[in-house]
């Protein structure tokens, strides 16, 4: 397989398989507050997350910054938990809180990027003559995978809120509650290791 295509595929697989459950869960929890009609807001939110994680993925992979993987592994589920709590306890209909959502996506994206870099650096161990092209391809793969997750999530949301007539707030609370539960499970697991 061509190297560029190979790393795109790795990026997609990394975020869409069970190994990337924490990243997947974060994206879902982050998008849970939005309705189908707010798809533009979802796109902006995902872009903010992308900007954040691309920065730290590049900096960590290029060894500009070094991070403790254990700390990052603990912080990632904390970002999910905080996002879920924010969804549940934020006042409804506040425009300043919408922009706070974007700031959260961007800043938490920085933490997730460090998580992506652990996997990327493993793929590069001992074979990293020039990592720029693999890094670019891997990041493109992550973006593609991310968009797939959002698309599937939005479709399921449309099904529940449109077809089964579930109220959007109930849907959001269900996703946030489940996200928080999984996040706490992950935090306990990481701390117990």
């Amino acid at each position: 397989m061509n190297e560029f295509v190979f790393y795109i595929k790795q990026g997609i697989n990394h975020i869409t398989d069970w190994q990337g459950l924490d990243h997947m869960l974060f994206i879902i929890t982050l998008c849970a507050v939005y309705r189908l009609s707010q798809w533009r807001n979802i796109l902006v939110l995902i872009t903010a997350f992308t900007v954040g994680h691309s920065i730290t993925l590049a900096l960590t992979s290029l060894d500009v910054i070094r991070v403790n993987s254990k700390v990052v592994e603990t912080l990632i589920p904390i970002t999910i938990l905080l996002t879920a709590l924010f969804n549940v306890f934020k006042p409804q209909k506040s425009s300043s809180l919408v922009s706070l959502n974007y700031i959260m996506a961007l800043s938490f994206g920085l933490i997730h990027g460090m998580g992506f870099s652990s996997f990327f650096k493993s793929m590069m161990m001992g074979v990293s003559d020039n990592i720029t092209v693999p890094l670019l391809a891997f990041n493109i793969g992550i973006e593609a995978g991310q968009l797939m997750i959002v698309a599937v999530f939005v479709l399921i949301m449309a099904l529940f809120t449109g077809f089964f007539k579930v109220r959007h707030r109930e849907w959001m609370l269900f996703i946030s509650g489940a996200g928080a539960g999984m996040a706490v499970g992950m935090i306990v697991k990481v701390l117990a290791e």
Partner: protein, 171 residues
């Protein structure tokens, strides 16, 4: 208040039902290059040191293998293990691996370099299969980079859960 109770209920149910199965990355990376002058292939394999030493210790009943100071016995163990798990064939005939070096290249990464002499006849095809540490971890993934004359740079992934897979390179 009712919705908040509902959220807490979902939270608790998920927390009880969910089993985090995050695991450390189980991976090796390899690179196969051709040295035209010596008519040999140079195979470089990178292992996570903790995974590799644990598997060798288990298989060969050794204790505390330290890749910073590898003795002849440990060198033979490494070469033997790689020869058993990594199959390379040129023109459908198996190639013999010879250990060149073992060194720790970064924290928790050990690099094993091997040489494979090629037959003098023209090489038409090469077959590679990489099952390193498949016997140790169900989630093991091995990435092989092949850079050979007449072929574009090639990357292949070998996954423990997949059925037996062979990378074929035609010269």
């Amino acid at each position: 208040m009712m919705l908040l109770r509902y959220t807490v209920g979902v939270f608790l149910l998920t927390l009880l039902a969910f089993k985090a199965n995050a695991h450390p990355i189980k991976m090796t990376t390899s690179k196969l290059l051709y040295d035209k002058k010596a008519n040999e292939l140079i195979l470089t394999i990178n292992f996570f040191e903790d995974d590799f030493s644990a598997q060798l210790e288990k298989l060969y009943h050794r204790k505390n293998i330290d890749f910073a100071v590898v003795d002849d016995t440990e060198g033979s163990m490494v070469a033997g293990y790689v020869a058993k798990k990594m199959l390379l064939k040129a023109n459908k005939k198996p190639l013999t691996l010879q250990l060149s070096s073992i060194k720790r290249i970064e924290e928790n990464v050990v690099q094993v370099k091997l040489i494979l002499w090629l037959p003098k006849t023209k090489i038409k095809s090469l077959e590679i299969s990489d099952a390193l540490l498949f016997d140790a971890f169900a989630e093991q993934v091995n990435i092989m980079h092949v850079e050979l004359p007449g072929t574009t740079s090639n990357v292949q992934q070998f996954i423990s859960s997949d059925s037996y897979k062979v990378l074929k390179v035609n010269f």
